[in-house]
Amino acid sequence: MDPFWGREARRLAWSASFGWWLEAFAPAFAVLGALDAALILALREGGRGVGGGVLLGAAGVVAIGIRAYVRARPRFLEVPDALAELDWRLRLDNQLSSALAGVGAWPSPSRWRPVVTWRLRGAGLPVAAGLAIVALALRVPTPDSDRNVAPAFQPAAWAQIEGAIERLDDERIADPRALETWRARLAELESKPAREWYEHQQLEATDTLSEQLDRALTRLANGLGDAKSALTERQASARGLGAERTAAPGDAAGRRLSGTGPGDGPATQTPATQRPGASERLRKLMRAMEASRLPLHPDLRRQLDSATESPAMSQQELEQLIARLEEGQRTALNMRSQSASRQLDEIAERVAGGPSDGERPTTQNRSAHGTGSGRGPGTAPLLIGEVKTAHDGKPEEVFGKEKAKAALGDPAGLSQSEHTVDPSEYRGPTRAGAIADRGRGGEATWSDSLSPDEQEYLKRWFR
C-alpha cells in the first residue's frame, strides 16, 4: 500500500470509528449526566459528601463507554473501507480501492491533501450538556451547602449565658449545683454540630435558655434585693430602738440590744419585737429562692439563715451581709441579657438615677418584676401623652426627671406593682376541696393581676 494513502486511510478510519463511538456514547452520557446531577444534588441536600455521586458517575461513564464501543464496533471503519471513503469523498473514481486490489496505480500524493473536518454539534452537545449539568449540580448553592459552612462564631447569647454562670460562681452568689445544671444545658447546645448553631430550632433553644436565665437572674436579684431590704429595715429598726434604749442607761435590755453595754460585744442586736415580722418575710424569701432555678449559694444561705434565726448577729456582720446581698443583686441584674426587659430596666435605672435604696421601688412594688411568666417584662413604661389613672390604689411611680424635654412616645418612667401570685406559697398536700395554691401562672392569672400599664404594654408587645 502506498504509505501516504495508507496513513490517510488509517487516520480517517480512526476518526470515523471515534465518531461512531461518540455518537453512540453522547446520548447515553447526557442521560447519565442528568441522573448523576440529580444524585449529586440529593447528596448535597442531604448534607453528605458528593464523592459517592462523582465516583458513581465516573463508573457510569466507563459503563456507557463500553456499551457505546460494543454498539458502534460493527460500524468501525477498516483501512479498505477508509480507502473507499476517500475514493468517494475526493472523487477519485475508486482508484484507491482498485490500487489496493492491484489494479491501476495509486493517485499521486502531491495532488491530494485530505482534511477531515468535525461537525460536533450533534454529538458534542449532549456531552457538553451532560458535563454542564453535572458541574452545575456540583456548584449550584443548596440549602445544605450553606449549612455545611461552619459559622466562625458561636451565638453571642451563649457567651453571655456562660459569663453569667461563671460570674455567679466566682462571686459565690448562686448554688454551684444549680449552676452545673445551667452549664449542662449550655453544653448541650454547644455540642450540636457547628452548622446547626444558627438553625431555627437551635436559636429557639438558645433564646429559651437565655430567657430562663434572665428570669432566674431577675428572680435572684429581686430575692436578694428583698432580703437586703428586709435586713436594712431590721437594721434601721434596731438602730432606732437602740437609740431609745441608750437614752435610759439603767435598762439592761437596752444596753444589750444597742451593744453599748459592757460585755455585750461590738454588734448591735436586733430587737426582739421586730424580729418575728422580718424573720417571717426572710423565711418566705428563702423558701421562694430555694425553689427557683438559681438558688442561693450555700454560704450565703447559711448567713441569711443565721440572720433570720439567730438574734445575736452583730451590726457589723449585718452590714457585711447587706453589702454582699446588694453586690449580689447588682451582679444578677448586670448579668441579664440585652432583652427588652433588660433595656427597660436600664431605662428605669437611668431615669431613676441608679438602683439606690432610696429610689428603688419597694419590695411589694418590685415583686412582679422578678416572677414574670415570660410573656412580658413585668414593667411598663409610662409614655408621655398618655393619661394614666390610679388603679386599685396601687401606686404608679414616674421617674422621669426632664419631662419638659421629652417628646410624645418617649418613655417617661416605669410603673411597677406587686403581683399577688406567690408560686412558692404551696408546699404540700391539702385537704379535699381546699385551694391553697393560686397556681404558677397562666395567661389569665397574670393578665388579671397586671396593672393597666402592664396590660397596655402587653397589648403593644403582642400587637
Binding site: A16, P74, D93, R119, G124
Partner: protein, 334 residues
C-alpha cells in the same frame, strides 16, 4: 475466475476510439452528450436499449449514425398491430430448386447487427414476444430449426410516450431484457439553431466510420475485463436490494438489474479510459438501468410519483458504503 484487467495501453487505445465515436454521434444528435454516452455505454455492455421520446427527436438518425460509425449492418422494423412474428424473424418459403421442392428459410429483418424496432409498443404481444425472445437468446427458432443472430447483436427499440391508444405496453418481464431505458429530452434553442444550420430535411447525416465490427467486439470484451471493486459490488447490491424495501415500490429490481448495472458501470469506466468501475459510474447509470425495472405501488401512482423520483431518493438514502462516515465527521476534502 482469473480475469486479466485491461492494460493502460489497451485502455488508452479504447478511450481514443470511443472518444472519436462519441464525437461522431455528437454530430448526429446535437446537444445530447449524456444520451450519446449512455447509448455507447449500453452497446459496450452488450445490452439492448429502449429509447423513449416524442417523434422527430432523432432516434432513427441516431441508430443509423451508430451503424455507420461502427461499420455494422443495420435494419429497421416499423412495428404495427398487424406485424407478425415471422415478419421479424423470417419464415420458411417453399422453393423450387433443381433438387426438387424444399423449404428454405428466408431471414427476417432481425438478422442484422443493429436492429431498430420502431414504435415497439404498437405490435401485438405475440410479435413483441418473438423479438424479445430473440434479444435474450440471440437466436431465432423457425419450424424447430434454430438460427443464430449475427454478433454483435443489438436492438434499439423506440416507443412514443403519447398516442398510447391501440398500443400494447411491454410487459415488465420483457422490459427487463432492455439494459437501458433512455429518454430523449427536448432540445433547447441553441441546439435547435445548430440542427437548423447543419441539417437538411430528407437527407441523412454523413457519419464517418470510426471502427469496424471486429474491433467493436474487442471493445465489448475489453469492457468486461474492467475491474469492479468489491466496494462498488456491495454498493450495487445494496442499491438494488433497497428497491425492494421502499414502500412506494410494488416490485423492485431483479438480479438481472444488478448484473446490468455492474456491466454498464464497467462499460462506462472503459469509455472514460479507467481500469475500474466506480461509485460515480453506478450513480450515473442507476436511473437508465432501474427506471423500467421498478413497478410503482398503487398509492404512489395515486400520489403522482414517478419512478425517476424514487430512484433519486434511493441514491440519496443509500450510502455508498454501509460503514460510512458518522454525521459528527463533517467532511473529507482536499
Amino acid at each position: 475466475m482469473s480475469v486479466t484487467h485491461p492494460t493502460p495501453a489497451e485502455l488508452e487505445g479504447a478511450r481514443r476510439e470511443l472518444d472519436a465515436l462519441s464525437r461522431a454521434l455528437g454530430e448526429v444528435l446535437f446537444g445530447q452528450p449524456t444520451l450519446v454516452e449512455n447509448v455507447l455505454t449500453g452497446l459496450l455492455a452488450g445490452g439492448h436499449i429502449l429509447l423513449e421520446g416524442l417523434p422527430g427527436l432523432g432516434k432513427t438518425q441516431l441508430v443509423k449514425g451508430l451503424a455507420r460509425a461502427l461499420g455494422l449492418e443495420q435494419k429497421r422494423i416499423q412495428f404495427t398491430p398487424d406485424l407478425m412474428p415471422g415478419d421479424i424473424t423470417g419464415t420458411l418459403i417453399l422453393q423450387e430448386t433443381s433438387a426438387g421442392r424444399r423449404f428454405e428459410f428466408h431471414r427476417g429483418p432481425i438478422f442484422a447487427h443493429l436492429v431498430l424496432a420502431d414504435e415497439i409498443n404498437r405490435a401485438s404481444p405475440k410479435t413483441q414476444s418473438a423479438l424479445l425472445e430473440a434479444m435474450q437468446e440471440r437466436s431465432v427458432t423457425v419450424m424447430g430449426e434454430s438460427h443464430s443472430l449475427p454478433s454483435p447483436f443489438f436492438v434499439l427499440a423506440t416507443q412514443n410516450p403519447i398516442e398510447l391508444e391501440g398500443t400494447y405496453p411491454l410487459p415488465e418481464a420483457q422490459l427487463d431484457r432492455f439494459l437501458f431505458k433512455l429518454e430523449f429530452g427536448r432540445s433547447d434553442v441553441a441546439v435547435l439553431e445548430q440542427i437548423i444550420r447543419k441539417r437538411e430535411l430528407g437527407r441523412d447525416v454523413e457519419v464517418p466510420q470510426v471502427t469496424d465490427r471486429d474491433r467493436f467486439v474487442e471493445l465489448i470484451g475489453l469492457a468486461r475485463r474492467v475491474h469492479l471493486p468489491d466496494v462498488v459490488v456491495r454498493y450495487i447490491a445494496r442499491l438494488v436490494d433497497a428497491t425492494h424495501t421502499q414502500a412506494a415500490i410494488r416490485f423492485g429490481a431483479s438480479p438481472r438489474a444488478a448484473l446490468s448495472l455492474a456491466g454498464a458501470a464497467k462499460a462506462r469506466a472503459l469509455l472514460a479510459g479507467r481500469p475500474n468501475a466506480s461509485f460515480e459510474d453506478v450513480l450515473a447509470l442507476a436511473k437508465p438501468v432501474l427506471r423500467h425495472r421498478m413497478i410503482l405501488g398503487f398509492e404512489a401512482k395515486l400520489e403522482g410519483r414517478h419512478v425517476e423520483d424514487l430512484v433519486d431518493e434511493l441514491l440519496r438514502t443509500v450510502e455508498v458504503q454501509e460503514r460510512g462516515l458518522p454525521a459528527s465527521l463533517g467532511a473529507v476534502r482536499s
